[in-house]
C-alpha cells in the first residue's frame, strides 16, 4: 500500500575482506550501534541464459526466508533501481505483480526464463546507528555469504545501508567510514567472487558469437572458426531446447543452424566437396525438424496481440485457441525433443565436430588459401545482388512464396555480413545491416501472418466437427480476416521498405565495401 519509493539504500561489497565479523568490529568503533537479532536468509542472483540483465548493467538479487522475498534490481554503483516483494523468486518477469520492477524486467527479459546463477546462504546482522538522543539515524546490515552449491570457503561480506529521512549528514559520515574500510559500491551479494568460484563468467553466452578474423587469414581457417563458434551456440542451446525452458533456446538453436547452413553454402571450393553435401543435407534436416515448434512458439508469443486485434466481444471466444495451440506445441515439442535425443542428431554433431577438427585440412580446393576478405567481399556482393534482383521483381500481387524466398535471401545476406563484419569498416557495415534489418522486419511480419492464417485454416478443418467450438471458429474466422488485412498492409509497406534498403546511398556503400572491383558505377 506504500505510495512512496522505498527509502534511499546503498549496497556495498568488500572484495578485500572475507570476514563479516571484522567488518562489524570496525563499524562499532566510536559509534552508538544497536545490534538487532541476526537473521538467516537465502540470496539468489538471477539472470537470463543470455545475460540480458548483466548486459544492461544490472543485477537482480532475490533475498528471503523462503516465504517472503525481497527482489532488487541493483546497479553497478550499488543503487537499487527498482524493488518489490514476492512470495518466490520469479521464473519469468510475467509472474510478478505490476510494478516498476516488473515493467523493467519484462522490457529487458521478455519471455526468457530467469536462471539462478548463484545461490548463497546469508547470515545477516542488522544494526541501527543512534544519535545522542538514541534516535535511529542510519540502518545497516552486515551480510556473510556462503555459496550453497560450492564448497568454496567464505565469500566476501556485503553490506546494506538504509538512509533515514532527514539525517543526511549522519548517513554521509557512515558512508565515508565504509569507504575508508575498503567498501566498494555494488551488489551486497558477492557476485564476482561467487561466480568465479563456480567457474562462471558473466556474459559468457552471446547468441551472435563474435569471431575474430583478420582480412589476410586463409579462407578455410576463417570459415572453420565461424562454423566452430556456431557449433558451440547449437550445443549451448541444446539442453534448453530439448527441455523447452523458454522459447528463446529453440530460437537461438535454429538461428545457429540457419547460420551454419548459410556458411556451408559458402564453402564450395574452400572445403573438400565430398563431405559438404552430406552436412548440408543434415543441417537442412535439423532446420526442418525444429520448424513446427518454432512456428507454434511464435504463435503463442503473439497470441495476446492477435487477440487484442479482434473486436472486444469476440476476444474471449478466441481463448480456447490458446489451449489448442499449447497442445499442438507440446506435441511438436515432444517430437523435437525425441529427435534431439536420437542417434541421427548425435551422429551429426560428432561427425561435424570431427570434420571441423580434421576433415577440412587434407585436400586443397581452389579458394582454401585465398585471403578471407576477398572471398567475403565476393560472396556478400553476390548475395546482395540477388536480394536486389528478386526484390525488384516483387509486386503487390506476387505469390506469398516469392516474398518468403526473398526473406530467406535477406537472411543469408545478413548472416554473411555479420560473419565477416570485423573485416570491414565498422560504421558503414552497421548502417547497411540496419537498413537490411528494416526490410527483414517487413518480410518477417508478412511471413508470420501467412503461416498463422494457414494454420488457422487447417485447424478450422479439425474443429468443424465439434459444435461446441462454433464461437471459437467464428473468432478464428475474424482473425484470419484480420491477418489477411495485415498481410495486405505488410505488402503495401514492402515497396517503401525495399526502397529505403536500396537507396542510392546504400547502393553506393554496398558497392564501395563489397564489389570485387571496388567502387564503380551504380548497379
Amino acid at each position: 500500500m506504500s505510495l512512496m519509493p522505498p527509502p534511499e539504500t546503498h549496497q556495498y561489497s568488500f572484495p578485500a575482506l572475507t570476514d563479516a565479523t571484522a567488518l562489524l568490529a570496525h563499524l562499532q568503533q566510536g559509534r552508538q550501534l544497536r545490534r538487532l537479532a541476526p537473521q538467516t536468509l537465502h540470496a539468489r542472483y538471477l539472470d537470463t541464459f543470455d545475460w540480458r540483465l548483466h548486459q544492461a548493467g544490472l543485477a537482480l538479487l532475490a533475498q528471503g526466508d523462503g516465504e517472503h522475498w525481497q527482489l532488487e534490481l541493483v546497479t553497478p554503483g550499488g543503487e537499487i533501481s527498482a524493488s518489490d516483494r514476492a512470495t518466490a523468486p520469479p521464473r519469468f518477469a510475467r509472474e510478478l505483480a505490476d510494478s516498476a520492477l516488473q515493467a523493467r524486467l519484462a522490457e529487458l527479459c521478455d519471455c526468457r526464463i530467469l536462471l539462478t546463477r548463484l545461490e548463497t546462504r546469508v547470515s545477516r546482522q542488522p544494526l541501527e546507528v543512534l544519535n545522542a538522543d538514541r534516535k535511529i539515524v542510519v540502518r545497516l546490515a552486515v551480510e556473510a555469504h556462503h555459496d550453497t552449491g560450492e564448497d568454496s570457503g567464505p565469500l566476501p561480506p556485503g553490506l546494506r545501508v538504509w538512509a533515514v529521512r532527514g539525517y543526511r549528514r549522519e548517513l554521509e559520515t557512515v558512508l565515508e567510514a565504509l569507504h575508508t574500510l575498503g567498501a566498494e559500491p555494488g551488489p551486497a551479494m558477492p557476485l564476482a567472487a561467487g561466480l568465479a568460484a563456480r567457474g562462471i563468467q558473466p556474459g559468457d553466452y552471446d547468441s551472435k558469437p563474435r569471431v575474430d578474423l583478420n582480412p589476410g587469414m586463409r579462407a578455410d581457417h576463417a570459415l572453420r572458426a565461424v562454423l566452430r563458434a556456431l557449433l558451440a551456440t547449437v550445443r549451448a542451446n541444446e539442453a534448453g531446447t530439448r527441455e523447452d525452458i523458454d522459447p528463446e533456446f529453440l530460437h537461438d538453436f535454429r538461428v545457429a543452424v540457419r547460420r551454419t547452413r548459410a556458411a556451408l553454402g559458402q564453402c564450395r571450393e574452400i572445403f573438400p566437396a565430398d563431405s559438404l553435401g552430406h552436412f548440408r543435407g543434415e543441417f537442412a534436416w535439423l532446420g526442418q525438424i525444429t520448424g513446427a515448434t518454432r512456428d507454434l512458439d511464435v504463435y503463442l508469443l503473439h497470441f495476446d496481440q492477435l487477440k487484442a486485434s479482434l473486436p472486444g466481444a469476440m476476444q474471449a471466444d478466441l481463448e480456447p485457441l490458446r489451449e489448442i495451440l499449447r497442445q499442438h506445441q507440446r506435441k511438436a515439442q515432444q517430437t523435437l525433443a525425441a529427435l534431439l535425443a536420437g542417434e541421427r542428431y548425435r551422429r551429426l554433431l560428432i561427425d561435424w565436430d570431427g570434420f571441423l577438427a580434421t576433415g577440412a585440412v587434407d585436400s586443397h580446393p581452389a579458394l582454401a588459401a585465398e585471403p578471407i576478405v576477398a572471398v567475403a567481399r565476393e560472396r556478400i556482393w553476390r548475395a546482395y545482388r540477388r536480394v536486389v534482383r528478386d526484390g525488384r521483381a516483387l509486386g503487390p500481387d506476387s505469390p506469398d512464396e516469392d516474398f518468403h524466398e526473398l526473406r530467406k535471401r535477406c537472411k543469408k545476406l545478413r548472416y554473411l555480413m555479420e560473419f565477416f563484419q570485423g573485416l570491414f569498416p565498422g560504421g558503414e557495415i552497421k548502417t547497411l545491416i540496419k537498413a537490411l534489418k528494416g526490410l527483414q522486419e517487413n518480410l518477417g511480419a508478412h511471413q508470420d501472418q501467412v503461416v498463422q492464417a494457414d494454420f488457422l485454416r487447417q485447424l478450422a478443418g479439425e474443429l468443424r466437427a465439434d459444435p461446441g467450438q462454433l464461437p471459437t471458429l467464428l473468432a478464428m474466422g475474424a482473425l484470419v480476416a484480420d491477418l489477411t488485412g495485415q498481410q495486405q498492409t505488410s505488402r503495401g509497406a514492402f515497396a517503401a521498405r525495399f526502397g529505403e534498403f536500396g537507396s542510392p546511398e546504400h547502393r553506393d556503400s554496398f558497392r564501395a565495401l563489397f564489389h570485387p572491383d571496388g567502387p564503380g558505377p551504380r548497379p
Binding site: 500500500m1 506504500s2 505510495l3 529521512r165 532527514g166
Partner: protein
Amino acid sequence: MTVFATYNIKGGVGKTAAAVNLAYCAAQEGRRSLVWDLDPQGAASYYFRVRPETGGGKGALKGKRELESLVKGTDFPDLDLLPANFSFRNLDVWLDDARKPESRLGKRLKPLSRDYECVFLDCAPTLSLASESIFHAADVLLIPLIPTTLSLRAFEQLQAFLAEKGPKGLRRLAFFTMADRRKKLHLDIMEALPGERPEILGTVIPQASEVERMGPEQAPVGAFAAASKAAHAYRELWAEIRQRLDLG
C-alpha cells in the same frame, strides 16, 4: 491523503498521545503517515526522539522552503515526522500578516499528498487564527475528551465556535481519554453522552500508566507495550475511525 487534526481548546487531555499513537497504528497497517508537530512545546517530537528545529519553520509556512525538506524519518516504518519548530510560537502573529490566513496551512500540505496517506496535525490548545487555519487544512477533527464537566464545557465551546466559524465539510469525531472507570462522574458522563452525540466514538482510552510511560520510553505505546490495554485501545480507536470514515 486524509488530514487529521487532534485538537482541543483545553490542554492536557491526551491530544499529543492520540496523534502519535493513532499515526503509529496507521503506519503499522502500511499506510504512509506523517505527524506534524504544530505545538511549539514539541511533545510529539519528543516522543519520537527528535529535537525541535530552531529555524526554517517560517520559510516552510511561507512557501519559501518545501515542507518535505524538514521531514524526519521516525524509528518506525512508514511513519515520518515534521518536528516542532520554535518559530511556530509566532504562528498567529505571522498568519495575521498573511493573505487568506485560514487556507495557508492546507496549501502547504498539498504537495505532501503524493507521499502520505494519513497526516496527523498535533495542535496547540488555543482558539486562535492558527487553529482556524488548522480547521481549514484538516478533513477530520479528532477531539479527545476527559469525561469531566470542565472538559465538556470546553467541548461545547468548540462546537459553538465551529458551528459559527468552522469550515463546511469538516468532520468531527470525539472520544473519551484518560477515563477512570473507578470514578462515578466519569462513568456517568461516558454513559450519557454518546447517545446524545453521534460524533462521540464508542472506544475509550483508559487512564493508564503505559500512556504516561511514553515520556521516559520516548515511543508510541504500541512500540514498547504492544500487548497493553492502552495500546489495544488505540488500535480499536483507529479501527473505529477508519470504519466511520470508510477508509478501508
